[in-house]
């Protein structure tokens, strides 16, 4: 029998609760004109509102899907429904040979993979195409100038706000934050625009969020100060600052660097939609390197095509990290493959180790506000606050709705279990936890 994902893995693949519900609704073979599968792929025909049925194709392990429906969700409800059938009633899948369009899709995937490998090999072997370095430098200089202007403006604006004080500033006004944010977009510094908007969101929550607002403004000020130091900065720190401002590092540059080949544990996955762009973030932990990686995939909402790694599984492959201080963001340099857990498996931290790691990271990179973790911990409640407590009895404040913390309590049963999430310096944000013999996503499609 093919190694189809379990129902929990399918649940974890769903982009949000509504897609999951709709997908579950389609998890009945009777609803499909055709639902079939083999060792490699699943495919099906589902009659939609149009004349022709939707053609749904999924790799047998759920890591890639394609559907002719117009959904902006990924995977769409049809792919989730088909995966649920494979997970729950594999015997109901027709054993017919793949249809022509399935063969074409599989062939095109194989062809693309081969081409990518060839391209990578060629790129490594062949001399680089001549780059008009002069023009490139000119473009960079022009953008640098704009960004520098933006930085001056923002420093002035921040200074004015500080002079005036929160009490007299229209902090809850949308335009108060949006005007400088747009100015940063015009200055080609989208990273700064994002930071201004985040500060605006904190301000909108009222005076109780003033400490958070002060933290964000402080970090923004620090970034602006660092940005004005330019070449005086350490190269890694400069790379970090440039990316925070909004400079992008070409993927080729990242892939040209060294990679970290390891057994990677898929600890968590989140999906968020912003500005008609869907971003999938997969958090990976390397067993040998003992380091965390953040694999980001983005696609327009009209055509979201991602590779999805099921939670709690191990893959083997090489990740190339973006330049920066204590970088997390990485790209697959070599194709990854599913693998068995390495000897030792997942190593779980204590809260003390996490806090030490957090302090050390902040010492190197003040803007690293979210740190992934995997603790052996239990959920508990005290003083009206939920806590994530490790085996030594040390506890961190837990962020989550009552429903989420109840779910976590139900799963842990009062005993420490592996929990993955993000530590933001004030609260632990749970993203996934071990449940029985599998892993359970705690994001429910929300953003981290």
């Amino acid at each position: 029998m093919a190694n189809y994902p379990t129902p929990d893995l399918v649940t974890a693949l769903a982009p949000d609760a509504s897609s999951l519900k709709a997908g579950r609704g389609l998890a009945s073979p009777g609803k499909w004109t055709l639902a079939a599968g083999n060792e490699v792929a699943l495919w099906g025909l589902m009659q939609g509102s149009g004349k022709d049925p939707y053609q749904v194709q999924v790799l047998a392990d759920g890591t890639a899907t394609k559907c002719s429906c117009p959904s902006r969700k990924f995977p769409c409800k049809h792919a989730i429904g088909l995966l649920f059938i494979a997970a729950e009633q594999p015997g109901k899948l027709a054993a017919s040979p793949p249809l022509a369009w399935v063969e074409e899709w599989l062939a095109s995937r194989a062809e693309k993979a081969a081409k990518a490998e060839t391209k990578a090999a060629d790129a490594a072997a062949a001399p680089k195409a001549p780059v008009d370095e002069k023009a490139q430098a000119k473009r960079r200089e022009k953008r640098s100038g704009r960004i520098a202007d933006g930085i001056s403006f923002l420093q002035q604006w921040l200074g004015d706000l500080t002079k005036q004080g929160f009490a007299d500033a229209p902090l809850s006004g949308h335009d108060f934050w949006e005007t400088p944010a747009r100015r940063m977009v015009d200055a080609q510094a989208p990273g700064l625009a994002r930071m201004v908007r985040l500060a605006g969101q904190a301000a909108a929550r009222g005076p109780s969020s003033h400490p958070v607002l002060m933290d964000q403004l402080g970090r923004l000020h620090l970034l602006l100060s660092a940005a004005t130091q330019g070449d005086a900065l350490d190269p890694d720190l400069r790379a970090e600052v440039e990316q925070l401002l909004g400079w992008t590092v070409p993927q080729e540059t990242v892939l040209a660097g060294p990679d970290v080949f390891d057994h990677w544990f898929t600890a968590a996955r989140t999906l968020e939609e912003e500005d008609r762009l869907i971003t999938s973030i997969t958090w990976l932990w390397g067993a040998a390197s003992q380091r965390w990686a953040q694999w980001i995939q983005s696609a327009p909402v009209q055509q979201p095509i991602f590779t999805t790694l099921p939670l709690g599984r191990w893959v083997q492959g090489g990740l190339a990290f973006y330049p920066g201080k204590e970088p997390l963001r990485a790209l697959w340099k070599t194709a990854f493959t599913s693998t068995e857990p390495p000897p030792g498996g997942l190593i779980l931290e204590s809260t003390d180790t996490l806090l030490e790691r957090s302090a050390a990271t902040l010492g190197l990179n003040s803007w690293r506000t979210q740190l992934p973790f995997c603790l052996r911990a239990v959920t508990t409640r005290s003083g009206g606050q939920d806590w994530l407590m490790d085996e030594t009895g040390h506890a961190l404040p837990l962020r989550g709705s009552t429903a989420l913390t109840q779910l976590m309590s139900a799963v842990d049963g009062g005993r420490p279990v592996p929990v993955c999430g993000l530590w933001n310096g004030r609260e632990a944000i749970p993203l996934a936890m071990a449940a029985e013999e599998d892993w359970l996503s705690l994001t429910g499609g929300r953003t981290a």
Binding site: G363, A410, G413
Partner: protein, 512 residues
Amino acid sequence: MNPDALTTLMLLGTNRLKTPPAAPSPVLEGAWAALDWSQPETAALAACALTAAATSAGFTGRCDLALPEPSDPETRPVAPAATGAILRHLLSGEMPECLPEWLECCAAGGWVAAPRDLPALLVKATQERPLRPLIAAVLGERGAWLARQTSQVDLIAPPADPDDSVWETGTLTERLAWFKSTRQTDPARAAAALATAWPQESGETRAGFLTVIGNAPHPAELPLLESAIKDRKREVRLLARTALMALPQSTWSQRAFARALPLLKIEGILLTKHLVLHLPEAFDAQWKEDGLEEKVPAGSKGLGPRAWWAIQLLACVPLSLWADHFQMDFARLLTLNKDAASKDVILTGWLESAVTGPEPASAEALATYLSDFEKWPATSPAAIPGFLKLLHVLPDETAARLVEAAEAGVLSSIAPGQLFAASTFPVPTAAAPRWFAALLPRLQNPVYSLFQTPTVRQLARRLPLAFIPEALAQLARESTLTSTSETFTRALEFRLQLHQSFTTKQTANERE
């Protein structure tokens, strides 16, 4: 760390700065000293950056909390993974009608629900009281622990025998529970307690206690019932009548027999034999004492006072009285009720009697007689609700046969599918083939859907599991399916999948 001074500065603005704020913590004093307050805005923002980093980097968490008391180990296995997936479908709102079925299967198999499903099950228990016992049966040790943690233990605790004090001080629910429990162990004591409290109780409360008594009264309750038959609240009087009809030794029943017997006579011979109704001439004041009403209820068109009194007198005696009195099978007696002027009055009285003091054999004869609806008495309430009341007192198999017969008869043209939709009994296996054969044309009604989607799913829920494969095969043989039939098919498939998930061995893939 005390960031108040800096917060105050940021709140009021550096324009109002008189003296630079002190370092909020000794560990920051070195860095704080390097801030250049001659440029107050820059210094204040840098101070914010410093405190942000220090707050995060210096976070210590709590180490004074006790580890929670863990749940006891589970004594029963967790239901197979495939069943958990089905449960999540059900809890997300798909096929909610099948949730009780899942819970029953899980409990019957000796399993408990998976921990991750427990919060949703507890929410369900909050929302749907009738499901609580079923949910409690699958929560296991972990669920009970979680309910204690979340103060939801009342939702799932089996009702304890109420303490005697609740009879004096408890809520209505608690007092009803006490009465129900006590009358099982010491009916005389329960009856005495109720009799003492009766005069002070509200009409609603009095009706509540009589509902507990239902049609299974204890002789000790007789004095109370004979007083309740004169109650000022109509609902209480009717409930008391239901109870008294089950106590033929009561003086009330004796008086009811004595009054009813002169009403009906058989006259004529052979083919001219027929039942004759002698309407009462006047309303006896004693009748009112026994719970009868003198005035015809508003809205009873074409019903005179004497006919109304006769209906009530007939309704107060069990149907078996007539079979015994005339020494004749009740079904045969029905055929003798052919006097056009009186037959509806007699039938209405008998219908009331049949649903009040259930006697399944006589009720079946009456329901069979009325199942073509052409003989439905004009003096009686609406036919379909009335017929459904009759079905409630019948065994499921009989009810299924009668629905099938009624749907094939006159209902097929005036109200097709209505009895299928409104009845609620589970269809017995033996009756399923014919019942489904009668239902299928209704599902396949080509012009419009006779049923709403929840009704279709309920219909599928009522079909016995053993018959589902056959029903699906029959549906598959149809050349086209209406959307109603498709919904019905999906519901049957879902039920089949639900049961298979409990019986199919886990595959290696599922266990992985």
